[in-house]
Symmetry: C2
Subunit: 346 residues, 2 copies
DNA sequence: ATTTTTATTGTGTTCGAGCACATTTTAACA
DNA sequence: TGTTAAAATGTGCTCGAACACAATAAAAAT
């Protein structure tokens, strides 16, 4: 075990006082050339690691982080995020950080805007948010940036150089994973990509997933598969999907790009003599039900809990430990079947 | 933000000195009933969280943890463990912990015993080990226990109440996952469980995987599958497996219970006109090669890196933060195909 | 040469918990 | 009641970094 040096040690080695060492370390000036040189020589010859305990004990400043996420009352997908954030809070509760959660209605742009106003009024040191609404999110982030507030995002990617960090998944790759699964399940046939319930033009994630999915089959180049796309919004959902399936009897596999696979499962499970392969997203209770009765073959886990956890801890550790914030953290894309589903709830 | 109380605050609230509060908190006795009651009342009315910075700053004791793992020169499976341990070391480098890695030869019982002796001579506060050799591991752990050294294990389960913690996977469930994958791939047919290269009687993990695998098909109760078992040790491996496959032409799927699926892949890839479904374990380079050329359909990831990381951090955090060590931590069992394999290297 | 200004360097206190030691209070005994 | 022992309580220092402030040295101005 190599020796752990303190400021006092360095001071003695350099023949100066600890005050001078401190000034050198923090580049506060007021140090003679001679002393500067001597201290730097010592610093170069040893590996000085400041004692973070002592530092954070002395610093009484409390850092404030605000997290903006959709209210899980509107969509159960978001509940795990709260758990992840609370886990991060718990882990760092004895440090000088305050993490506050702000919920907004994911179906309402104005709710998102209003919540951002509230956050701004709290004037935090950093904001972590789910940028569901593209234009409004960019706008909010630029305001934060102008006030010196750090912005990180998760779940949805967004291009803006005012953003410090993104935590999420590679959605293109995620589409390829679904494609590979259906390739293995079916070997050949017709497959439909099903986009449910969200504004397709605004939802880049669905587009990316589709691109990845098609990319897999394009590079396969064996012509054994035919890929179709089907878009639908909720109200007319049931009847239109039925129609679509009836008019395309060749379809043997479905890839649902949102967390609404259970709605598709509900329909196709009514016709059990014709098993259609089904791959979807997210471990919602509804989805798990159909996974367990084998109507859904695979679910892809986007790990919202871990996304939120990592987004939060990377900000906390930036303030507490002066860790650098990584610009992009892509999480593994977990493949879930009946047997390993429960593993992902811990 | 609720107030953060210090010992001084509590002392003032209870009308005693901080020394008395300290004695109450640490149950050191020498406190009058009256004072004890007053302090406890204050403690009950507030949520006191000791400042861990201050605590660990004061405590100059350096805790020592030794980790015993197989040398990756003998088996590349173990390399990620070193990475995981080093990650833990890095994360906690500014705390008062010393983590030392001891390697042993996984093919040699005496190497394991000798390494344990070395560890014992280092008289650490805790030991984390991979209990490859059942009897010898139990023996070593009991000696550690008698000296007040905490023992945790990972990768292999072991029954002993001298063990504080196990990090690993549910191997039975892991077998079920493989079964479910082959069920989806094949729908029906004959499948063989292949045990390669290890002493079957001693290797509980292979037995557990087989049990889980068979359990899945037993509860399926549709009689669409026939399950066979094939055991082989390395030297005669190639010829005997060929023979086995030739004499069982009905076999359409293979489940390899160790990390040696690439050896099977090598053989069956020579007969490309008959695709045999293949599921194995672990993201070794050799395996990934055959996963990418689609000879292997799925690999199950045992996440050795994370096992080692969590085993190490749980001990570190026990000493630093007085966190309780959870007796059993089961990691998710990750399903890996061509498309998400690289995700699991971060 | 002496005072003033400025640059440089050193000292001492703080953060909160932990623990050794000093001091005070209470109990026990002669 | 006085003396001693035992129990209870309080005080003060330490850990390492940060920073305010005091002290010293060097340079500039008178």
């Amino acid at each position: 075990m190599e020796k752990i040096y303190t400021i006092k040690d360095i001071a003695e080695l350099a023949g100066v006082s600890k005050g001078t060492v401190d000034r050198v370390l923090h580049k506060r000036g007021k140090v003679s050339e001679d002393a500067l040189k001597r201290v730097n020589e010592v610093l170069a010859s040893i590996d000085y690691q400041p004692n973070l305990m002592a530092r954070s004990l002395k610093k009484t400043q409390i850092y404030s982080i605000c997290v903006l996420i959709p209210d899980s009352a509107n969509d159960p997908y978001w509940q795990p995020c709260i758990d992840g954030i609370n886990e991060a809070k718990k882990e760092f509760k004895s440090f000088n950080v305050k993490v506050e959660i702000f919920l907004f209605d994911p179906t309402s742009t104005s709710s998102f805007v209003e919540t951002n106003k509230k956050v701004l009024a709290a004037s935090p040191d950093a904001v972590l948010l789910v940028p569901l609404f593209h234009k409004e999110a960019i706008n909010a982030i630029e305001i934060y940036n102008s006030k010196g507030i750090i912005s990180s995002i998760f779940n949805n990617q967004l291009q803006s150089n005012a953003i410090k960090s993104f935590v999420g998944q590679d959605l293109f790759q995620s589409g390829r994973i679904a494609a590979r699964l259906l390739d293995l399940l079916l070997k050949k046939g017709t497959i439909a990509i099903v986009h449910i319930d969200e504004d397709y033009e605004n939802a880049i994630h669905m587009q990316e997933k589709e691109k990845g999915f098609r990319d897999y089959f394009d590079t396969l180049e064996n012509g054994k598969f035919e890929i179709k796309t089907f878009k639908v919004k909720h109200p007319q959902f049931k009847s239109t999907l039925k129609e679509f399936l009836e008019s395309n009897p060749a379809i043997e596999g479905l890839f649902v790009t949102t967390s609404k696979a259970y709605q598709v499962a509900k329909i196709i499970s009514k016709n059990p003599e014709k098993k259609i392969a089904l791959v979807g997203y997210d471990l919602l209770e509804n989805n798990l039900e159909y996974l367990n009765n084998k109507t859904i073959d695979f679910l892809i886990h986007q790990n919202p809990k871990r996304q939120a956890y990592l987004g939060t801890t990377s900000l906390i550790e930036h303030f507490i430990f002066e860790k650098e914030i990584v610009a992009e953290k892509l999480l593994p894309i977990d493949i879930v079947n009946t047997e390993n589903a429960k593993d992902y709830f811990s």
